[in-house]
Symmetry: C2
């Protein structure tokens, strides 16, 4: 089979690798029909995070079950499934508490002997706990929306849930990547009345508007802060979805938050600490982290199947799987928001 | 009139000062019937926080309204009132959002020309927004419970609300001062099933038990962490009420929290930052800050008047007002949990 392999920073290769097979009785093997590249894959591509040369990569995929272990109860060969970006057992205390990304026996695709998601086949550990069945055989248009549920839609939704977006609330999204855009969609799902989307990138502004942003803030940093403070009579917003994780983006998040408001963080914080004294004085709350996608997929899947949300519109760059290098390059250069490839 | 004055670190004097009178039409003057000393007053007493020599001090009091300004609508002379530890307008965006401690025109007693709470009379700015009327003329036993609502009971309640204590939840309180003990009471009010109270001080352990602690953890730091991890099958607790604010106490709070859990902070953080990366990986949430006591007083007052809670049992040291120095010394030496004085 063919699969993406991290060669070196700046170089992702499609190589011939061994076909996966059932190893544990709780495994399933999935024939991948669509996969994509994540902003977090770029950390390795850019050499900003370490990854072993020759390691598999990718953690978002959907496809058809082609083999199941003896103890798999809820899935059968032929089922179409969505894989959350982390596998999880569904039975431990953390999973039962809704924290599947913190599963005691879970992990992320592409590490510790587990296949990466960017490949023709993937062995899924803990298949019953991990994979979410989709009825029927979705067409390619539908698959775009389903693949978005693997990570970005759920991560954006986690930002919205964590930041306590409420019906009628005034909220802001910092970050206009696929996750930030999905957070806009999620804020709209949860009934926010005013949704500020910070974006200086015209194509992404258009997606933000489609997802329900009521005001595009075409600025960053202090300029964005002043605009939002002006538009909220100096008060700030109830909820900030922080979808970047840099010093500047988190500073902006604190600058535009009202006392008693909550920042939902889903951008991996890079070299940051949160300002305890400032948070205390202002009753600023910080919540969030690695999204429990497995928990959110059923909720969002229902809305996708009902046609009420279209999370897949974040995919604005289709690539031929053998040229995955070009997809990484496009996302690195921000000429694509999120790159998708169909493998069947 | 007689009032407490901060002379120097280690020295609090009762001095003769000018009687307060109405300055603004929204003021009221309160004849104080009971006041007390707060753990946060000790920061000045110990010289760990700056305070001008000669400044008034104290921010907790109850008493009788003896004068009202022309624009005071909800109070009249003779009303018995509880003063929250910060005054607030009740009308600005922050107050309406429930964040009265962050009121646009509010402040704390004893600073910026506003009387301290440790004195025979106090002029209250923004009286309608600030003071909470109590029916009738409460006796001294009842006044103990009412005075607790001025700060510690509400601050403990804020810890519980902020840490999202839920019916049936497993929670822990770090800190066995009057606020920590009040957090135990608040967790019980909110229906927590298992309440760990960390305390190495026998008299305070007794109060914690009366307030509803189900398990006393007679340890600190790593030892306390191991005990709680053992007792929760390695999982940790849903909610931690952090009522201290030191490096050790906050480290313990993070050590015993489960993924997806929330720390409610009401201990002023001293020289701390929160660990963004650790929080992100574990979905640890941090909420809280300066308690909006004005918002919580009516809720807790109803329970006090109904006899369902007795927050005043934290007062275990009664002092003669003229000897307030002795009360500061007792609290500094931890021979008293919280010191109360009746002035009438």
């Amino acid at each position: 089979m063919r699969a993406a392999v991290f060669a070196n920073p700046g170089s992702i290769e499609i190589q011939e690798v061994a076909d996966p097979h059932i190893q544990e009785s709780t495994d399933a093997v999935v024939k991948v029909t669509a996969t994509c590249v994540c902003g977090s894959d770029l950390w390795y591509y850019r050499g900003l995070a370490d990854r072993e040369s020759g390691a598999r990569i990718g953690h978002e995929f959907i496809g058809e079950v082609v083999e199941v272990g003896a103890d798999v109860r809820n899935l059968k060969v032929g089922d179409f499934v969505i894989a959350p970006f982390k596998y999880s057992c569904g039975e431990c205390a953390h999973c039962k508490y809704g924290m599947t990304a913190n599963c005691s026996s879970g992990g992320i695709w592409g590490l510790r002997g587990v296949d990466g998601g960017q490949g023709q086949y993937v062995r899924s550990p803990l298949a019953d706990g991990t994979l979410v069945k989709v009825p029927g055989k979705p067409d390619r248009e539908m698959q775009r929306h389903l693949l978005a549920l693997s990570d970005v839609a759920c991560t954006g939704y986690h930002a919205a849930i964590s930041s306590r977006v409420k019906q009628g609330g005034t909220v802001a999204v910092v970050g206009d990547g696929a996750v930030g855009l999905s957070a806009v969609m999620s804020a709209a799902i949860l009934g926010a009345e005013i949704i500020f989307a910070l974006s200086t990138h015209e194509p992404r502004q258009q997606i933000a508007k489609k997802f329900g942003a009521t005001t595009i803030v075409n600025a960053r940093g202090d300029e964005a802060k002043e605009i939002i403070k002006d538009l909220t009579d100096g008060v700030g917003v109830d909820s900030v979805m922080e979808c970047v994780g840099t010093a500047q983006s988190s500073q902006t998040a604190f600058d535009i938050l009202r006392p008693g408001g909550t920042i939902g963080t889903v951008g991996v914080p890079h070299g940051l600490e949160w300002p305890a004294g400032k948070m205390f004085t202002n009753n600023f709350n910080v919540a969030g982290g690695v999204a429990p996608a497995r928990v959110y997929i059923p909720t969002l899947l229902d809305k996708v199947l009902a046609g009420t949300i279209e999370p897949g519109i974040v995919f604005d760059y289709d690539f031929d799987f053998e040229n995955i290098q070009g997809a990484y390059e496009a996302m690195d250069a921000r000429t694509g928001t999120k790159a998708i490839s169909f493998l069947d």
